[in-house]
Symmetry: C2
């Protein structure tokens, strides 16, 4: 194994979407906007602010339209929202504050796909082709194909690298060469480990050199930051993360939030990898997130603080 | 960089000492014994149960003698206690339940040494020589030389690899060839990062091939598990850790506990590295620790649970 840290990474802040979706309480739009606007002033370049899903399934995000309408534009910050189908895409496109790109969510675990999106892999692949045509018709760049449960899940158990890459290959075949800019590998419920990350990223890289790999890691079992390190060692340049570690998946019991953005940024900066993020301001956001949701959040840097010498 | 994971690792459980020392409340001996005895049934081979320090400085551990007298011997488990000077060593040796080895604590940050142990580096090195003679006279193997604040601290700032190795060299010179079996590098207040760990371990290895390196890592800023991974990638076989991440240093404000033992064990097992630890039983201990101290503890595995397929 050779280590090839990237020079810089793109951190995508997922906290507002991941967090407010996962919490039992429905938080006021005002609260979400307060956190989002604080995040928008940290230097982070991309913030996923909500998800256009059905309000009856996730009432926590029923205010999606109101929220995006009230976002404060900030220089250098891209606001995005998750969507899972054509209806969601139309809702996203109706906003003037979001920057919408082509996105599609697959799963490596077909059982997970059935459970969460009520479709088979074949159905999902067919829908991928339809959505890709829609992106083309709308002149939207196909930015991200995300594959959830990339290392396994509680329905199907451990999922090997080759099985994930077979799904990627099937997906790419359906796209007739109109490939996404990035394939984002998501460890949805913490089945990943650093060696599995290394294998998947290296194999993907060697087979699809023109497509960027990204990582979306949850820290369910304490391996999150080690998995981030493994991704960095493989040169991965795009990471989803969540302020203070806010979040979890409402459909995956016991699931934890994403790796904490400020902890990932600190790790990167310590390794000489540029993030563009102001750590002091991010710590402020992590503390704010904890205050707003009223429960202790896992991020460590907000407690430990920056490296400072006593004067 | 080449990765050379060890086949197996020795995990030393530090939770009872680190944890009950750091908590504001003084916990009853009974509580400590309950946790220690649960830990002693997990397959972990070494448990640091207390520290022989002055009761007026750390009243939380004033029951050290009573505690060690009441330990239940368990096959395959070694009970140890921390000591920092001759008086502490004598107290440890007076017990029949502890297995006492030669141990000495230095610091890479002289300012930290002055603050916590009220001595200069020269004084500490002189005491090292005296203690080593005592070990020899007592027929105690010199097991561990621990160097705290190996990557920096709030008094002195960042500490480079060469400065740490210069202290190791001075220490070894005082010992006239009677070297310790292990040098344990301690990241006392979370100034370490994976590259700093790699540099220190690799350089130490190349200069002192006959002495084992060990790691004692605190997770103050979210880099703990990434630092563990870096140590494992360098082949380190000895790690201190603390059940559920219990702990922190009472003299270092904002300091966090050690990396959680069960999370480290899970990471190791996922990487195919044998720990000898029963993860299910360790999760039980982590949950017990949280219940006993009555505050949320950072370990993740106790929440996320083992990798299991739904039946």
């Amino acid at each position: 194994m050779t280590t090839s840290y990237p020079k810089s990474v793109l951190l995508r802040e997922n906290g507002p979407r991941e967090g407010f979706q996962a919490l039992a309480a429905v938080h006021p739009t005002e609260t979400k906007l307060e956190l989002i606007d604080a995040l928008a002033q940290t230097g982070v370049r991309s913030i996923e602010v909500t998800s256009f899903v059905r309000a009856d399934r996730i009432p926590q995000l029923a205010d999606a339209e109101e929220l995006v309408a009230r976002l404060t534009p900030r220089t250098g910050v891209r606001y995005t929202a998750l969507y899972l189908n054509e209806r969601g895409l139309e809702r996203a496109l109706a906003s003037t504050t979001l920057e919408v790109g082509g996105f599609f969510l697959l799963a490596a675990s077909e059982a997970f796909l059935k459970h969460n999106q009520n479709r088979t892999l074949d159905q999902a692949l067919a829908e991928l082709a339809t959505m890709a045509e829609l992106f083309a018709a709308r002149n939207l760049p196909f930015e991200q194909l995300m594959i959830s449960t990339c290392f396994g899940d509680e329905y199907q158990g451990r999922i090997e690298c080759e099985a994930v890459l077979a799904i990627v290959a099937q997906a790419f075949q359906r796209l007739n060469g109109a490939l996404p800019a990035e394939v984002t590998f998501a460890d949805t419920t913490g089945w990943g480990n650093p060696e599995a990350v290394r294998r998947l990223i290296s194999e993907f890289r060697s087979r699809h050199p023109g497509v960027e790999p990204g990582l979306h890691l949850h820290d369910t079992r304490g391996t999150g930051m080690a998995n981030v390190l493994s991704g960095l060692q493989c040169g991965v340049e795009r990471f989803d993360a969540s302020v203070a570690g806010l979040g979890g998946c409402p459909f995956a019991p016991g699931a934890a939030g994403n790796v904490p953005t400020e902890d990932v940024a600190f790790l990167c900066e310590e390794l000489g990898i540029h993030t563009g993020v102001n750590l002091e301001k991010y710590i402020h956001c992590a503390t704010l997130a904890e205050k707003l949701v009223g429960v202790p959040l896992p991020g460590k840097l907000k407690q430990g603080g920056l490296l400072k010498v006593r004067s």
